[in-house]
C-alpha cells in the first residue's frame, strides 16, 4: 500500500507549506481559532460548483485536486473509474449550511433545496467522486476527531480487499460557526485561554481549526506499474473504541494503546522501529495525559527515546480533518526526515515526560538502515481510536 500524493488546506496553507511554516515555528491560531484565512473557494472552482458545496466540501475538493496532481494523475485517474473510490471523514459535516437554513426557517422563509445536499456528511466524498469520476467505493466516515484517520484506514482496507486499486482518502471540517463554537465551549472542550499547547502543564482545552487533507492511496503493484513516485508506504492501521464514555478518554489510555498495538501488528513493525510519533495531542488535560500513558504502555522504553509532536500546536484541532492532515504531516516529515516540533511547550507536568520536541525540528534516522517509520494517532469523542503506521520511501 503506497501513498503517492497528498493535498491539504490548513490554517498554514497547503500540505508542504504547513510543514515548512510549522518547522519555522509559525502558529496558525488567531483570536483563539485557526481558520483557513488564505482559502477562497472561487479561486479553485466555478461559482456554480462553489454554491453546491458547504465550506467543508469546498475544502475537501481543493485538497483532493492538490493530492491527485501531486500523485501525477492528470485530469483522470490512471485506472478504470470502477477501480477508484473515495472515503472522506468529517466530524460534523455541513454545519454552516444547517445553521443558515435554520435561520431561514426561524424567519418563516423557505429552506433551500440545496440544504440537504450541502449539509450531508457524505457530501465531501460525493463531490470528489463527481469531480474526479470515481465510480468505486465512495462514502463518508463519521468518527468525530478520529474520522480523518478512520477514512484513511478504511480506504487502505478497500484496496487490500480488492474493492479498489486506488482511493482518495482523508477528512474535512469547517465548523468555525456560532453553534459549533458555543457547543464545544459549553462542553468545556475548547481552550478558555485560546492557546493550543499540547502536553504543556498549562493546557486548558483545544483550539478549533478548520481544513481538509486528502491522500492518494494506491495498490503498490499498480502504482509501480504506472511508474508512480512513492511518497510513503501505509504499513498499518489499528482502530478500537474505548466503549467507556461519550467524551472522556480512558484515563489510562488503554483504548488508545490497543489501537497503537493493532496498528503495529498490522504493519508487522516492532516498537523499536518507530522513530517518530505524530500525536493526537489536543491540548486538553485528559487527552494528552492518556495519550502519553498509551505511548508508554505500547512503545515501552522506546516512547521516551523518540520525538512525539502535535500538529495541533501549529494549526489547532481540525476535528474530522485532523487525522488526515496529521497523516499527511507525518508522510512529509518522513519524506524530509525531519520531525516537526510541538510549538508552545514550556512547562512540563509530572507524568507527561516524553520528548515532545519542544526545542524545534529534529532529524529523523531509521535505527536499522531502513526508511524511517512513524505513527500517527487520532482519537475522538465517542471513544474512537485510530492509529496509522507509515513508512517513508
Amino acid at each position: 500500500m503506497v501513498i503517492t500524493g497528498v493535498g491539504a488546506v490548513t490554517p498554514l496553507g497547503d500540505a508542504r507549506s504547513l510543514l515548512a511554516r510549522w518547522n519555522e515555528g509559525e502558529c496558525g491560531v488567531f483570536g483563539g481559532e485557526a481558520p483557513c484565512r488564505e482559502f477562497d473557494a472561487t479561486e479553485h472552482m466555478s461559482t456554480k460548483e462553489a454554491r453546491r458545496m458547504d465550506r467543508f466540501t469546498q475544502l475537501a475538493r481543493v485538497a483532493a485536486t492538490q493530492a491527485v496532481l501531486d500523485a501525477g494523475w492528470g485530469s483522470a485517474a490512471p485506472y478504470r473509474p470502477e477501480q477508484v473510490g473515495c472515503i472522506i471523514g468529517t466530524g460534523i459535516g455541513g454545519i454552516a449550511t444547517i445553521e443558515d437554513n435554520h435561520a431561514l426557517l426561524q424567519a418563516e422563509r423557505a429552506v433551500s433545496p440545496l440544504a440537504v445536499p450541502l449539509m450531508m456528511g457524505n457530501a465531501g466524498a460525493a463531490a470528489l467522486a463527481i469531480h474526479h469520476g470515481l465510480r468505486g467505493p465512495v462514502y463518508g466516515v463519521v468518527a468525530a476527531c478520529a474520522a480523518g484517520a478512520q477514512a484513511v484506514g478504511a480506504a487502505m482496507r478497500a484496496i487490500q480487499t480488492g474493492d479498489a486499486l486506488a482511493m482518495l482518502a482523508g477528512g474535512s471540517e469547517a465548523a468555525l460557526t456560532p453553534l459549533a463554537r458555543s457547543a464545544f465551549e459549553s462542553l468545556g472542550a475548547t481552550s478558555p485561554s485560546g492557546v493550543s499547547r499540547p502536553f504543556d502543564a498549562r493546557r486548558d482545552g483545544f483550539v478549533m481549526g478548520e481544513g481538509a487533507g486528502v491522500l492518494v492511496l494506491e495498490d503498490a503493484a499498480a502504482a509501480a506499474g504506472r511508474g508512480a513516485r512513492v511518497l510513503a508506504r501505509l504499513r498499518g492501521y489499528g482502530a478500537t473504541c474505548d466503549a467507556q464514555h461519550l467524551t472522556a478518554p480512558d484515563e489510562d489510555g488503554s483504548g488508545a494503546a490497543a489501537a497503537i498495538d493493532a496498528a503495529l501488528t498490522d504493519a508487522g513493525v516492532s516498537p523499536e522501529q518507530i522513530v517518530y510519533v505524530n500525536a493526537h495531542g489536543t491540548s486538553t488535560p485528559l487527552n494528552d495525559r492518556a495519550e502519553t500513558l498509551a505511548l508508554k504502555a505500547t512503545l515501552g522504553v522506546r516512547a521516551a527515546a523518540i520525538p512525539v509532536s502535535s500538529t495541533k500546536s501549529a494549526i489547532g484541532h481540525l476535528l474530522g480533518a485532523a487525522g488526515a492532515v496529521e497523516a499527511i504531516a507525518t508522510v512529509l516529515a518522513l519524506c524530509e526526515r525531519i520531525a516537526p516540533p510541538t510549538l508552545g511547550y514550556e512547562q512540563s507536568e509530572p507524568g507527561l515526560d516524553l520528548d515532545y520536541a519542544a526545542d524545534g525540528p529534529r532529524p529523523l534516522h531509521a535505527s536499522d538502515g531502513q526508511a524511517p517509520i512513524a505513527l500517527s494517532n487520532s482519537f475522538g469523542f465517542g471513544g474512537h481510536n485510530a492509529v496509522l503506521c507509515i513508512q517513508g520511501a
Binding site: S46, T47, K48, E49, A50, R51, R52, A110, S112, P113, L114, P117
Partner: protein, 81 residues
C-alpha cells in the same frame, strides 16, 4: 406583495437568478435551453422558490420537469400567474 408577472419582469428575475447561480448572463435568453445553460433540477428547484417569493406563483418539481427552455419557463410562470 407579489410583483406583476409580465414577460419582461419574469425574464428579468429568471435571468438574474440563474446568473446568480453561476450561469453566464450573456447566454441566458428565451431560446436558450436548460441543457445548453447547464441548468439542472437543483437550479430549477431554487429558481422556483425565487419565483414564488417574487410573483406568488407556485411551481412544483413536477411542473417544470418537462420545461426545456428559458422562454418555456417564462410562459409557464405567466400562465400560472
Amino acid at each position: 406583495m407579489s410583483a406583476e408577472a409580465t414577460t419582461d419582469t419574469v425574464l428579468d428575475v429568471v435571468t438574474d437568478t440563474l446568473a446568480g447561480f453561476g450561469t453566464e448572463r450573456e447566454q441566458i435568453a428565451p431560446a436558450a435551453t436548460f441543457e445548453q445553460l447547464d441548468v439542472d433540477s437543483l437550479d430549477l428547484a431554487e429558481l422556483a422558490q425565487v419565483i414564488e417569493e417574487r410573483f406568488g406563483t407556485q411551481l412544483r418539481a413536477s411542473d417544470v420537469k418537462d420545461v426545456k427552455s428559458v422562454g418555456d419557463l417564462v410562459d409557464l410562470i405567466i400562465a400560472r400567474g
